[in-house]
Symmetry: C2
Subunit: 209 residues, 2 copies
């Protein structure tokens, strides 16, 4: 059975368990702490040298890391990735936007403020920058959603899964979504996708490492 190295708090992990659940792909979930150094130990570095959650290991031993790369792998050939070449490029565009212009601000601030230790002085000094850049990302998304129900081809895809993961818990980082009505309506639409599971719901076959 497919093994997912995961953390229930992680939005990046959530992307993968949400898609696997939607697809009905069975998997064994191994919970790894991201705060006690577990993901930096040799056994996990042998799976993902970058020491990040999530990664998946296939039955034959092949390994794959990076949440959005895992999404693309499993979404290909399903309803969650367009067939049209340019539409797939647009999905990719949003996935790279998510990892470069969204996650480093919205997910990082959530982690600092909600799940990590007390902020260092440098982190404290960076909070306004992270808020600014996170809001810039949310504003771009909200504007796109004024004319679109979902991010690409007006149907739910891997792009929505990726962007939903940290957007819907952005409040935990101190991001107020009130100024973004189109974004909030989209969050509601994603929650209504048949088979949807919330971020903290256990899924797969559980195995605590």
């Amino acid at each position: 059975m497919l093994t997912l190295y995961d953390n229930l708090v992680s939005g990046n992990g959530y992307k993968v368990r949400l898609l696997l659940t939607l697809l009905g792909i069975p998997f064994k979930r191994i919970e790894k702490s991201v705060t006690n150094g577990e993901t930096r130990q040799q056994d996990y570095l042998a799976i993902n040298p970058n020491g990040r959650i999530p990664s998946v290991v296939f039955d034959d031993g092949r390994k794959l890391a990076e949440s959005n790369a895992i999404l693309l792998y499993f979404a290909e050939g399903t309803d969650y990735l367009p067939v049209d070449k340019f539409a797939r490029a647009q999905v990719n565009q949003w996935l790279f936007f998510e990892q470069y212009s969204h996650e480093p601000y919205i997910a990082v601030l959530r982690f600092w403020r909600h799940y990590g230790n007390a902020l260092t002085p440098i982190q404290e000094a960076r909070v306004p920058e992270l808020l600014d850049k996170g809001h810039a990302a949310l504003k771009i998304m909200d504007k796109h959603l004024t004319k679109n129900q979902f991010f690409v081809e007006d149907r739910f895809s891997a792009a929505d899964i990726s962007l939903y993961a940290y957007t819907h818990v952005a409040d935990e980082g101190g991001f107020d979504l009130a100024p973004y009505p189109h974004l909030r309506a989209w969050l509601d639409r994603v929650r209504q996708i048949p088979g949807y599971i919330p971020i903290f719901q256990n899924c797969g076959e559980e195995k605590i490492s």
Copy 2:
């Protein structure tokens, strides 16, 4: 003709002009300054709402942003992207690694130290963190290259183009590559790819905006 909004200093722009040149795809290059606010003006935001370089505009008006999404679009169906599904997933893994764990440290420090204004006190305080995380990325790459000539399937692909762009100018950010012999040998291999062009070489049909 395809239009590339670009900046000669930008490694992200270089990825695209290198691939288009290797593929023999004609394009018009429009130089945009990334330091004087040109990419944040309304005319450019209409092309890329995220205000970043590069983006491409096709003859029919379709637009695509995010360097690695553009790479994947043009590489598909060519020698620069594997056909095998898992190998493509590995390319994607390295592309997301590049944008999340490499570029934000190696490219950002290069920009701060070599092309931007004087560092702010917060930036100055972050230099050790960026050096540490950038070296962590270089170390992962060097280790992967102990057993591989290129990043995926042991042949030159979009993954190499993406990782090469900022790695080969990492010294401009203060990264010493001496500890990474396998990485340096790979840089030499990339330079020897037929059709290779260096980062600062003008290419395409030039148009200064």
